[in-house]
């Protein structure tokens, strides 16, 4: 049995005149110690999916259907008290912008100790000691002094390290990281990603990494979920999906990556943009932007098809040519 099982999850946002569906039934599993990547452009619903797991959807969003099972507990519709024991204790989150994640008027120490005290019976001095240990684990220099710092006194990279330390405080079994490096400088991004990968491996931590950056995902994760317009369009082992994408959207994403061996060449952008929630085209949502689309694509939403280890939601997946060596680039 998987550690986390999400089945047919649907999320909707009731607005004034209509209800927008952000997620149209997605399913995925996470095994203990597994690292899963959720990839897609902004607006694909990947962050919404992550927040739905801990019922942290921003208003007026709500889970309208589906199951989220963590260990033996059903998380959707869980009462507030039990949910609190999961949040930050068994499942931790790391948010996108460390500038916005830490409370500006509370010290790092306060924000760490309160998290421990929320989940453990622990004395202040022990909580302090443990917090300092965790800060040391995420390679923050002179952690004793940093405990007294306010967030604005730290650099962006340091702040994100603090956030990771907070996420690790209670030794959770899953960390959900929502674009953890997007807001950081490029040089810092690699450091933070390496740190997270090391921590996950040594602690056998489950990781759900939400990002639009395929390069990051291919380095860190073992399995990938590609999302488009609120649906999963492809899933499989990272290696398979990157080397042999079966969905035209995934293929487009990979082709759009800048290629190290061909500097100066035009990037292959996917034409068009992700549709807004209110204007998702009928049939396969990707069809207006797809090079392989025909009339059949507009008829119905395709299901995920193929072997369990690598599935894609495209009725033409067999016609799609494999990546040539040249195209694959890597």
């Amino acid at each position: 049995m998987a550690l986390l099982e999400v089945t047919d999850l649907e999320v909707e946002f009731p607005l004034v005149r209509k209800t927008l569906k952000a997620i149209h039934g997605i399913s995925f599993n996470l095994e203990k110690g597994e690292r899963l990547g959720i990839v897609g452009e902004s607006g694909a619903g990947k962050s919404v999916a992550a927040f739905a797991v801990l019922n942290l959807l921003s208003k007026p969003g709500r889970i309208s259907n589906g199951k989220i099972r963590f260990e033996d507990v059903e998380l959707s519709g869980l009462d507030a008290k039990s949910m609190r024991h999961i949040r930050g204790n068994r499942i931790s989150m790391i948010f996108q912008d460390p500038m916005m994640t830490l409370n500006p008027v509370l010290t790092v120490g306060t924000q760490m100790i309160e998290c421990l005290k929320a989940h453990r019976k622990i004395s202040n001095s022990d909580a302090r000691e443990l917090s300092i240990t965790k800060l040391r684990e995420v390679l923050i220099p002179s952690p004793e002094n940093r405990m007294k710092s306010y967030p604005h006194e730290l650099s962006g990279g340091m702040r994100q390290r603090v956030v990771i330390a907070i996420a690790l405080l209670t030794d959770p079994s899953i960390i959900i990281a929502d674009e953890p490096t997007t807001a950081l400088d490029v040089t810092i991004q690699a450091e933070i990603m390496t740190l997270m990968l090391d921590l996950c491996k040594t602690k056998n931590l489950g990781l759900i990494l939400i990002t639009h950056d395929l390069a990051v995902v291919s380095q860190v994760t073992e399995r990938i979920l590609v999302m488009y317009a609120g649906r999963v369009v492809e899933e499989g082992l990272t290696r398979d999906v990157i080397n042999n994408p079966r969905h035209p959207y995934t293929r487009g994403l990979i082709k759009a990556l800048p290629q190290e061996n061909k500097p100066g060449e035009r990037l292959n952008q996917i034409r068009g943009t992700m549709p807004s929630l209110g204007a998702i085209p009928p049939g396969c949502a990707f069809n207006p932007r797809c090079d392989f689309a025909d009339n059949a694509c507009e008829l119905e939403v395709p299901d995920l098809m193929g072997a369990d280890s690598h599935r894609a939601a495209c009725i033409h997946m067999d016609k799609i040519p494999a990546f040539s060596d040249e195209e694959a680039g890597k």
Binding site: R84, R87, D97, T101, L102, P104, Y150
Partner: protein, 327 residues
């Protein structure tokens, strides 16, 4: 060091504003009424008048006269009230405790209701009680202070006879402060005026606290606090409330001044013997030195509270950028 630089700039600005206020005050003196007539009456000949004007320096250039005015003002001499025949500042100082009493009474009412109500409305915006408070508060800001005052007198004094209708009650000295807070009669007289004065500011603060806190509750760090599994009361009353307080303090500082304006209305309805009532009387009597003294005292109160709040805000808030001022 940055803070010191900021503080010095802020203090300089305060001095500059006071300078401008005194200039305005002085030009009023120059244009409003003839100080000579107040001194000697109409019966003196034109020649004698001119001699007297020369002797008093009233024919000197504007800025020399202003310099003299400023020099005296700094020493606390703002001239004598025509009506009371006493130093204007002394007259105002005598009325100050009555106004202060009113302001303190109203502030106590405002803080003890606006804080819990505002926070409640932010946390439970959809509950019926929050809707009731919000409905009540919009009525509150729509009823002018003087109407609240008039109708509270009409209902509680004239019709029901529960409360005295006007004036300040008995006062008593305590630790050098002569106030109605220390006698029962004084307190009874304070009730209606304080409520009237509070009636317009309280809904304002409820709405302010609510909207600030609701905005804070949308912040990413609040979501992170929830994600940490903290208790709701910790998220609300520590994480959100502490961030809410800062903007509320700033606005609160400005509102101290606004409250002073409303004291004029409240005092006028209740015939409360405070500074505002005194000012209205001075205007009717064209008691120029007293008018100017009031303007300068009120200006000083505004400038001091605002400077203090700005300095405090910057001191308390660890994130504020020390570039000049809030901008």
């Amino acid at each position: 060091m940055d803070y010191l630089y900021f503080a010095i700039r802020r203090l300089l600005q305060a001095v500059l504003v006071m300078f401008v206020i005194s200039l305005i005050g002085f030009s009023i003196q120059d244009n409003l009424g003839d100080p000579l007539r107040e001194l000697v009456g109409q019966s003196v000949s034109e020649k004698e008048r001119q001699a007297l004007r020369d002797r008093m320096g009233l024919n000197d250039p504007f800025f020399i006269q202003y310099g003299r005015f400023l020099g005296k003002a700094v020493q606390g001499d703002l001239g004598n009230s025509y009506f009371f025949k006493k130093p204007a500042l002394e007259v105002i100082a005598a009325k100050f405790p009555a106004t202060l009493e009113l302001v303190i009474g109203a502030t106590i009412i405002i803080i003890s209701f606006a804080l819990p109500f505002g926070v409640y409305c932010a946390i439970r915006p959809k509950s019926w009680f929050a809707k009731f408070i919000m409905g009540f508060s919009i009525i509150g800001i729509s009823v002018p202070v003087f109407l609240t005052a008039i109708f509270s007198i009409y209902i509680f004094s004239v019709e029901l006879g529960w409360m005295p209708s006007f004036g300040r009650g008995e006062t008593r000295d305590l630790l050098g402060w002569n106030s109605g807070f220390f006698t029962q009669d004084g307190l009874v007289h304070l009730v209606l005026p304080s409520i009237s004065l509070a009636s317009i500011m309280m809904p304002l603060f409820i709405r302010l606290i609510r909207s600030e806190m609701m905005e804070i509750l949308q912040m990413e760090y609040i979501r992170f606090a929830w994600a940490k599994g903290l208790l709701p009361r910790r998220v609300w009353f520590l994480h959100a409330f502490k961030n809410t307080l800062l903007p509320v303090i700033t606005v609160g500082g400005v509102q101290v001044g606004t409250m002073l304006a409303y004291t004029i209305l409240t005092e006028s309805v209740f015939q409360w013997p405070g500074m505002g009532f005194l000012f209205l009387e001075a205007v009717n009597r064209v008691d120029t030195p007293l008018i100017i003294a009031y303007i300068i005292v009120v200006g000083l109160i505004f400038v001091v509270t605002n400077t203090f709040v700005d300095l405090l805000y910057t001191w308390v808030n660890p994130t504020v950028k020390l570039v000049g001022q809030k901008s």
